[in-house]
Symmetry: C2
Subunit: 337 residues, 2 copies
């Protein structure tokens, strides 16, 4: 019996489960050797409306340039809360582990979850661990959920885009998806392409401070990329959108890999970028604020909202044409998150 590997018994709820919790999982995630180990965490009262979200992470490979499945799971859930304008408070972590997975790798993943949570100012307060036989899962899947508090009365949601709104993208398109794919396929891209996986809650707090009720929509363009996300918002709000291809920031190395592989960066997932739809009179000021943030140096206004045609997204191409932008059809890059 190899002491470095996860065994079925580690998911039994019995002695081995307790050992794994006490020796590895709880110290890594909570920072204390002992936690109360009741069926649920008790949270102090939260004043005001809350945001609540969940995401399952099945990224392949679990370690990729710029991150891993653990940090990604924290960033993804923090960002889903931040996109509602909520301040993230608490996370839960559900682990599904394949028998034979290495405890060392598990330790690295958990340590990075903790680091990401600390950095975002959020606490991991409850969790669960299951183990399935070899071949019944792929290494490790992580499902995080999160609770945040909404400390404002703003209406920030996908149905609130208004004609005239400027659309700000907080940085370059497609870095996460291409970094994961390069990691999976063993494509040598040097140090030029790293996942953008990051927590956006601090950036969002700054945007809200500047824009107030002139901030109408926030969304992080993850699966399906910027194209799919903007199409969703156009449909939810019943508005049109015009994007300018020349304005879209793309890391040259990402553009290179995309052109070799026939991918459009507009459809490739990001995990540390946001789209902000803001009233035109405040757009330049919001953009300037985002650019001063470490996660927003490459931010740009990439398009604007039109009164019509409702639900349609069009791209002004570099050569002056107009093409329709639709949602991602099929699956371009599986298991990107």
């Amino acid at each position: 019996m190899n002491n470095d590997l996860i065994l079925l018994g580690h998911g039994s709820g019995g002695r081995l489960s307790h050992q794994l919790l006490d020796e590895l999982i709880i110290p890594a995630l909570s920072g204390t050797a002992q936690a109360s180990q009741n069926d649920a965490a008790v949270l102090e009262p939260v004043s005001g409306r809350m945001a609540y979200t969940t995401d399952s992470f099945v990224v392949d490979p679990i370690f990729f340039p710029g991150g891993n499945i653990g940090s990604l799971a924290v960033h993804g859930t923090v960002n889903d809360l931040a996109m509602m304008g909520a301040r993230p408070l608490y996370l839960s972590v559900g682990l599904i582990i394949e028998e034979g997975f290495g405890k060392t790798d598990l330790g690295v993943i958990l340590a990075d979850m903790r680091r990401a949570a600390d950095s975002a100012g959020v606490r991991i307060v409850t969790g669960d661990t299951k183990v399935v036989p070899r071949g019944k899962a792929d290494k490790i899947f992580i499902t995080t959920s999160g609770i945040g508090v909404i400390e404002h009365d703003l209406q920030i949601h996908g149905a609130n885009a208004r004609p005239g709104d400027k659309i700000i993208l907080s940085g370059t398109a497609g870095d996460h998806g291409i970094a994961v794919m390069a990691g999976r396929e063993g494509i040598k891209v040097g140090c030029d392409i790293l996942s953008d996986s990051a927590s956006l809650n601090d950036l969002v707090a700054g945007i809200i401070a500047v824009a107030g009720d002139r901030l109408h929509v926030l969304r992080d363009p993850t699966r399906g990329g910027i194209a799919t996300t903007i199409k969703e918002i156009a449909l939810q709000s019943g508005v049109g959108v015009t994007l300018r291809e020349e304005s879209l920031p793309v890391n040259p190395a990402v553009r290179g890999v995309c052109s070799i592989l026939g991918l459009d960066p507009l459809f490739v997932a990001n995990e540390g970028k946001l789209l902000a739809f803001v009233a035109p009179d405040v757009a330049e000021q919001v953009l300037a604020g985002i650019r001063q943030h470490p996660l927003g140096n490459n931010a740009a206004i990439i398009g604007q909202v039109e009164a019509a045609p409702a639900g349609k997204v069009r791209m002004e191409t570099a050569i002056g044409g107009l093409r329709a932008v639709e949602m991602l059809a099929g699956e371009q890059l599986p298991r990107i998150c």
Copy 2:
């Protein structure tokens, strides 16, 4: 392309994902054809302390006598909240689906999740769906998280068992584990063994009403069974426990399967039973109340808390001996939840 099967593209975040959400998942879980589909659900303010929990479900088979992975996931999370004395309010659902899984089966599972949620008075408000390639998961895994409100000032937790406390088990031991195992192995057990999977929040509300601050510990004996759960509580509270073998209620069919297979019902998982540690002066009244509840007909006092030896659990056997009860070692019945 078979229209009845889940495809990788259903996890892409693109057009197929939206179709699956709009046509199957959201109508099944929320009961409305349209939901807001933002990154997070917005919850109205909750007054008081909250309980927060998560569980991942990997049960095999996904359909078993008396339930399926969907109803089990709701019951399990509702119960984790109820065991803190919390009233369950909201659930999240993270689905990890293997490519090629049937949409019909998915629909049945989701419908049963909804039915279980309705029955427990809890709302499924947010979710996520991922699809992994064939062979990278086993049909479907479900991770639920839940939020409940704690509407009392009682101290109900595993470190609060006190010498003299009576230990009440709300029904027969081991039904869930044996039902799942019978389903998996194709053992013919007729209609005599069904999973006990059920939501215990209503039963808990009744116990709190009767016992008040004389209720010290609530715990549902799931993975690892009654033995492991009581050992945990003895360790957390620094007390001893004496159990009486003759008092343990066991369905005769479950006892039969256990004796054939060499299993001890004391270590087999339940999913609709609870252990209540209550002060002796209120024990009979609490027991009577539990027995009047549809989920508690077979409840019994199975033992009591002793001042010493701390952390030790002993069983008085039917022939008058005393044996030590330890936590489940290794994995007796994998993937029981």
